[in-house]
């Protein structure tokens, strides 16, 4: 390990200001005696995990003779790589610098714009996420009523084509609310008022999906890019993500998309969903909680209401995953799962909300999200409890069996200045 750091430090002096080089080669490895968190709610103490040709070939308890290259992970933990859904990673580099932002196309109806083609694999952000165990992400456009198409990427790639795990997996809809917050200059306060464009906005969304559905009846292929982007939602090949934090909009949107025959619906929401948890459960729709480290929505809400939202949905039997708003702090995804534990969820269940559940919701659970034989070797090895700041030290990480480089620019700058000040 020390040796590795030394090499990396040497490399870093050359590669400073560049994100670490993506790894192409696969590494086979055998790990023994690890605490393996499967990502499906179960944990195996002192288990063996074998990586072969990019896949997990064995996991569990085996009588096998130790080879010289086998690694003893006594006291260490293995987790599935964490998955960050609904994020603008790779599309937004520096929030305040317009030139670095590619996540929000002009206009209200953009079902056909594709995040994947703008996804910047050389962004400075993925290294900071990987360092904390986030290995997969769903890069997602924002804004308007229909923002566009997201794609699922792995975070260690030469270019977006290499990064793509699933392209154009979902179309993202920002469902409008009846009421709208507006800034009032007279009183310098925010006032809520009726959204005057509400029915017009609803019609825009509905006519897009209605027209796309109708065009399925026609024999010829649609020549309309927007309709074309929406058509796969009726076969279930593409998902619809509804973004809203308004209880009535949740009901209206789910009812509409289910009626019109959208097969796969995911709701991205937060505390506003609390009064309609029963409806959400009944509808069978999965939920991505967009924000956990949040202030309570109302001044009289429980002080913990942001921290407990995912728990409430989970306890009601809804399939839940966690997202993290914005990019500047999304490397803290694992700690939002830790927060759920603090407020009553079992640790292994909380882990599911950033691994197994997320993979299920994104539709990549065949390969990702849990540590099972035959699945992709996309995992992290940590010093301790990855959901807690006290234990979240990622020692190694694999994406599809490639042992990736965790040392990014931030680590290199740290080394440089430790050296400058002679700190050991």
């Amino acid at each position: 390990m020390k040796y590795l750091i030394m090499i990396l430090t040497l490399i870093s002096t050359i590669s400073i200001a560049l994100s670490p080089q993506p790894i192409t080669e696969m590494t086979d490895a055998v790990y023994h005696n690890a605490t393996v968190h499967i990502g499906n709610g179960k944990v195996m103490e002192g288990a063996t995990l074998v990586i072969e040709k990019g896949r997990i070939s064995r996991i569990g308890y085996y009588k096998m003779s130790w080879q010289k290259s086998d690694i003893d992970l006594k006291g260490k933990h293995i987790y599935p790589g964490f998955i960050l859904p609904v994020t603008n990673i790779g599309l937004n580099e520096i929030g305040a610098v317009k030139a670095t932002i590619d996540d929000n196309e002009v206009g209200q109806m953009n079902p056909n714009v594709r995040a994947i083609v703008a996804y910047n694999t050389d962004s400075e952000l993925p290294p900071t996420l990987k360092y904390n165990g986030v290995l997969l992400a769903q890069t997602t456009p924002q804004g308007g009523l229909v923002s566009g198409l997201s794609s699922i990427v792995q975070l260690d790639a030469w270019n977006w084509q290499d990064a793509a795990v699933v392209t154009d997996d979902a179309v993202h809809v920002n469902w409008p609310s009846i009421m709208q917050a507006k800034f009032d200059f007279a009183t310098f306060t925010m006032k809520t008022e009726k959204n005057k464009k509400y029915s017009q906005q609803l019609n825009q969304i509905k006519s897009l999906f209605d027209d796309a559905k109708m065009s399925l009846q026609k024999s010829s292929n649609p020549m309309n890019l927007k309709l074309g982007a929406v058509i796969p939602v009726f076969s279930g090949q593409r998902k619809v993500y509804i973004h809203t934090d308004d209880a009535k909009a949740i009901i209206a949107s789910i009812n509409y998309f289910q009626e019109v025959g959208v097969k796969n619906i995911v709701l991205v929401t937060a505390q506003g969903s609390e009064p309609v948890i029963g409806f959400i459960k009944q509808s069978g729709v999965a939920v991505i909680v967009s924000s956990t480290h949040d202030l309570p929505q109302r001044s009289d809400s429980s002080v913990d209401s942001g921290y407990t939202m995912a728990n409430k949905l989970h306890n009601a039997g809804v399939l839940v995953a966690l997202a993290y708003p914005g990019i500047m702090s999304s490397r803290n995804l694992a700690f939002t799962a830790g927060t759920l534990v603090s407020y009553g969820m079992e640790k292994e269940q909380a882990l599911q909300l950033i691994t197994g559940n997320t993979a299920k919701i994104l539709g990549i659970d065949k390969d990702y999200g849990t540590l099972e034989a035959g699945k992709s070797a996309t995992l992290i090895i940590t010093d301790g409890d990855a959901l807690d700041m006290r234990g979240n030290k990622v020692l190694e990480a694999y994406i599809d069996g490639r042992k990736i480089n965790l040392q990014g620019r931030q680590q290199e700058l740290n080394q440089r200045y430790l050296q400058k000040y002679g700190i050991k």
Partner: protein, 991 residues
């Protein structure tokens, strides 16, 4: 009858006749009349304490000649019998812009637009456009017949007219609603001087915050004093006007209770008295309002009910919003109960009487209501002729049918300055007891006239006689039916009595004898059940319902104590707290304190201190490049639920900083999270004064493409500092020179102008005020240290300081501390090289380092933010905890009483459920000054209580009638460094 009609005709004619200006030439013949009127047999409310029944009022022109029961009525008086009617003194409207030009519309504020640095008003006026002290309403006044009519219909005869525009608004005039030409309408041309915190139509950028308005007011008064010395070769008509109006009544308009307290605080500094025009929310903190010892002008403003009929809408509405709806109508009840003097003004002219009656129904005594519309305004205006009907008073009165404060009451006439205005016709037959006299029999009857509907019945309840009455203009038929007979009578009405048509038979008469027996004349106190009076939580928040514990002495036993001292972490240890201080730390302490808290399996730490916070503030940023004159303590909001939420995160103290819009920002407020205390009590006693500085993109206004404000580069930022400090030094010299003059020489020399901005700037150089500087990149950090070195002081703290790791050695040498984020970066260009190793590198170099929040949410997880320094930078647990406790205490010069668990220090301590650096740790009990202000063990109980209170309010809202507002989520303010509104997070204008 004919006679009366004739009189009325003449009278009406007279009433319509406009008076002429004594200076005008008459086109025609002079027509001046000075009729004497006697209004007799009325119930007269002479003043708030004197009510005379069946009394008479004698008036001539604009004067009450006499009033009483036995006054002699001269033969030439025109007599009117007002039997059944009441006479009240005319109402005085204490706040209006009647007859004045409307101010320009507010310019919408743009975050990214071009700044307007200077006043847009030309002339010899103040350089700040919000200072409009030389405005005089009387010079602007013109007669407005339409508004006057509407005001009179609500009983007003006199209005105080001022222009509602600006921070200093100039003077008002007292105007009579006599419908005369402007020259004859003015009662007092220079009545009062008006102020507010609202810059109104001013297009100039500064001030943009509450504390900025406060600073501008203070500076302007200082300027006026300086100007008043008259030795200056500088002319400013606004400053001149301030001095000329110094003796006038001063009226300060505020828009919430916090501003009322602030207004009083700043006028005290200048020995001024004010009458405060409130927004009607005094009930939220009635004890504080009482302590102001100021008279108030109070609008009848009642928030509209919210439509919560569907549970999803109801879910959106906060307890506080609903309680405002419930409690606001009791505002006047509370004010009266606490003996606070107030004048009442309408909120909406249209519903004035309705709103007034609502307040009375909610417990405002009618006598208090009358005083608040008559004698109190007159007293405030120091006008002995208004507000009562004793002889010598102005002839302003209203004639009503029935009690004006009850639902049935109606204003019939409003006499203004002796001039009669008919609002509604008085009923021809007033309610009361009547005698029906027929040749053979006299019957005692009670007549009830409800808005023209007349009902008769026998006065004796046993009587079985039935009566019917029909009016057809002045003709009346009365039917009498009892078991013996049935009579139909035709007659004529004449002044509350009916008699047969002369010459027709039978001869009969129905005459009014007296008022019906009803409520005594004394105050009808509210009939409303007293249990309906809502309980007002303190603070005005759902989390104020539960009163926190007052105990300040207790023992925490058998716990793990993170001392932050040489002792390190002690297990199985007891800590004894007495009178808010830590008095003993050790094993098996025996003590007489009653309260022992079992700390087994828990961890005790010093309370978290947030070096960089913007919670509990009404505004955060002002915009002047040097804003050192603004004080954050002027914008404190002790009701902010974020104080409670901070306690729930183990935070016990914070530095509330000005924003980062300016190289020299405002003065900090250092507070403890004393939930339930007033704003002044939140402030930490005897703390050193601090100030915010800022560098980089925010002060360069990098987000604005159109900004013209100096500085736009880091080069300019340096010059701003050198300029400010150089000016401060020459300011100091100027004062020193002046102060060293002999008494005689002083008399001949102008004193230098006192400048609040330079005062604060000078304090910094003189090491009397300490800098916390928002900073990011190394170049600017080095720059500011160099500047400070050149002026012989040190920067106390660099806050944010995300590139501190690059210059930690330089900071150590300079003596600067650091307060940074654990892992924030990438939100703007200047944080591109931020690394999560920053805190650990600076700590290892030896810089006193803290981790702060700049966020109301993250401040509740600062222990976790500190723990990240272990993950990234391998700090020890003790080092990590100090980042959010002892180190910020040091940076704020509070480590002599906070930041560690040490005998003698304040008992600002937190009991954690787990290792405090673990994400699984929750603050279970948070103590400030030994008071248990947050107790997680009681959360379920408290939340249930809130839910119950919410349900009751929702029920009440659903049962209420009248129009309702749609209910929806009120977004909360979230203040950050560059917040101007607190809603940037919603408007896409973050950080």
């Amino acid at each position: 009858m004919k006679f009366i009609t004739l009189i009325l005709c003449v009278y009406m004619h007279f009433g319509a006749l406009a008076a002429q200006s004594p200076t005008s030439l008459i086109n025609g013949t002079k027509d001046e009349r000075h009729a004497l009127y006697a209004l007799i047999n009325a119930r007269i409310f002479v003043d708030k304490d004197t009510i005379l029944d069946e009394a008479s009022l004698l008036i001539q022109d604009n004067e009450i000649i006499s009033v009483g029961h036995d006054i002699s009525i001269p033969a030439h008086a025109i007599v009117r019998n007002l039997q059944g009617a009441s006479i009240y003194p005319g109402f005085i409207l204490m706040d209006s812009d009647y007859g004045l030009t409307k101010p320009d519309k507010k310019t919408p504020f743009s975050f990214f637009g071009k700044e307007i640095m200077d006043s847009t008003i030309e002339g010899v006026v103040n350089t700040n456009e919000a200072i409009k002290a030389s405005y005089h309403a009387v010079e602007d006044f013109h007669h407005d017949a339409k508004t006057a009519k509407s005001l009179r219909s609500n009983g007003f005869s006199t209005v105080l007219s001022s222009k509602h525009d600006g921070i200093m608004r100039g003077t008002s005039a007292l105007i009579s609603l006599n419908d005369e030409i402007a020259q004859l309408s003015v009662v007092n041309s220079l009545q009062a001087f008006h102020m507010s915190f609202d810059k109104g139509s001013s297009k100039q950028l500064y001030p943009i915050s509450l504390m900025g308005s406060s600073a501008l007011l203070r500076q302007t008064w200082l300027d006026a004093i300086w100007y008043g010395d008259g030795k200056s070769d500088f002319t400013d008509l606004d400053l001149k006007a301030i001095n000329e109006t110094d003796d006038l009544l001063q009226i300060f308009e505020v828009s919430n209770w916090q501003q009322a307290l602030l207004a009083k605080k700043i006028v005290k500094e200048f020995d001024k008295n004010i009458v405060i025009k409130t927004s009607g929310d005094s009930y939220k903190h009635i004890a504080e309002i009482k302590r102001l010892d100021s008279s108030l002008i109070v609008p009848l403003s009642f928030p509209k009910a919210l439509n919560v009929s569907d549970e999803l809408d109801a879910w959106n509405v906060s307890y506080e919003k609903m309680l405002e709806w419930k409690a606001a109508p009791y505002n006047l009840y509370f004010l009266n109960k606490h003996g606070i003097e107030f004048a009442i003004i309408p909120d909406k002219q249209k519903s004035f009487l309705k709103d007034l009656r609502k307040a009375i129904k909610k417990g405002l005594p009618t006598s208090a209501a009358l005083a608040a519309l008559t004698s109190t305004p007159a007293r405030i205006l120091n006008n002995s002729k208004l507000g009562h009907l004793n002889s010598g008073a102005s002839a302003n009165f209203i004639i009503t049918n029935g009690d004006i404060f009850s639902k049935d009451g109606m204003i019939a006439e409003n006499w203004v300055a002796g001039k009669r205005f008919v609002i509604n016709e008085l009923p021809q037959l007033a309610s009361g007891y009547y005698q029906l006299i027929l040749p053979d029999k006299t019957r005692q009857i009670e007549l009830k006239n409800t808005a023209g509907k007349i009902k008769l019945k026998g006065k004796d309840k046993e009587s079985k006689t039935k009566y019917k009455v029909k009016l057809n203009s002045e003709f009346v038929t009365v039917e009498v039916k009892d078991k013996d007979e049935s009579i139909k009578l035709l007659g004529l009405i004449d002044n509350n009595s009916i008699h047969n048509i002369a010459g027709q038979h039978p001869e009969w008469k129905m005459a009014r004898v007296s008022d019906s027996k009803k409520e005594t004349i004394k105050d009808k106190l509210a009939k409303e059940d007293k249990s309906q009076v809502p309980l007002i939580p303190n603070p005005f928040s759902a989390y104020g319902i539960q009163q926190p514990s007052k105990a300040e002495s207790f023992l925490i036993s058998n716990t793990t104590v993170w001392t932050n001292e040489d002792e390190g972490i002690l297990t199985g240890t007891d800590v004894l707290v007495k009178n808010g201080k830590i008095v003993k730390i050790g094993k098996n302490i025996t003590s007489k304190v009653e309260n022992t808290i079992d700390g087994t399996d828990m961890h005790l730490t010093a309370g978290i201190i947030d070096e960089h916070s913007h919670i509990a503030l009404l505004s955060v940023n002002d915009i002047a490049v040097n804003s050192s004159m603004v004080r954050m303590e002027d914008a404190l909001d002790s009701d902010s639920v974020n104080i409670y939420r901070n306690l729930a995160g183990g935070v016990t103290a914070a530095q509330l900083l000005h924003g980062s819009a300016n190289p020299l920002g405002g003065q900090s407020a250092l507070i403890k999270m004393r939930w339930g205390a007033t704003s002044d009590e939140l402030l930490i006693e005897n703390s050193d004064p601090f100030i915010k500085f800022a560098l980089g993109e925010n002060v360069k206004r990098s987000r604005s493409q159109q900004s013209i404000r100096y500085p736009l580069t880091r080069m300019g930022v340096e010059q701003v500092y050198r300029d400010a400090f150089t000016n401060a030094l020459s300011y100091e010299k100027e004062w020193n020179d002046y102060n060293n003059l002999s008494k005689r020489a002083k008399k001949k020399t102008s004193a230098p102008r006192r400048d609040l901005m330079l005062d604060a700037t000078l304090q910094i150089i003189n090491k009397e005020r300490f800098v916390s500087c928002h900073s990011y990149v190394q170049s600017e950090i080095n720059m500011l240290m160099k500047v400070a070195d050149d002026f012989n002081f040190s920067i106390n703290t660099f806050t944010h300081i995300l590139e501190g790791y690059k210059v930690a050695d330089k900071m150590l040498e300079h003596g600067a501390g650091a307060s940074t984020f654990a892992d924030w970066w990438t939100y703007k260009w200047e944080v591109n090289y931020a690394i999560p190793y920053n805190a650990s590198i600076m700590t290892n170099v030896g810089v006193t380092t803290a981790i702060n929040s700049d966020s109301a949410e993250m401040s509740r997880r600062l222990n976790q933010e500190a723990a990240k320094s272990m993950k990234y930078g391998n700090l020890t647990e003790e080092q990590a905890l100090k980042l959010v406790t002892l180190n910020p205490a040091k940076l704020l010069h509070l480590d002599d009483r906070m930041g560690s668990i040490k005998v003698g220090k304040d008992a600002d301590i937190v009991l954690w459920s787990n290792n405090p650096l673990s994400i699984y740790a929750k603050a279970t009990k948070t103590f400030v000054d030994g008071k248990l202000l947050y107790d997680r063990d009681r959360q379920v109980e408290i939340e249930n209580q809130i839910a119950e209170a919410r349900n009751e309010l929702i029920k009440a809202l659903n049962q209420s009638d009248g129009p309702k507002m749609p209910a929806s989520m009120e977004p909360s303010k979230q203040m950050h460094c560059d917040s101007l509104t607190g809603y940037e997070y919603l408007l896409g204008e973050v950080k």
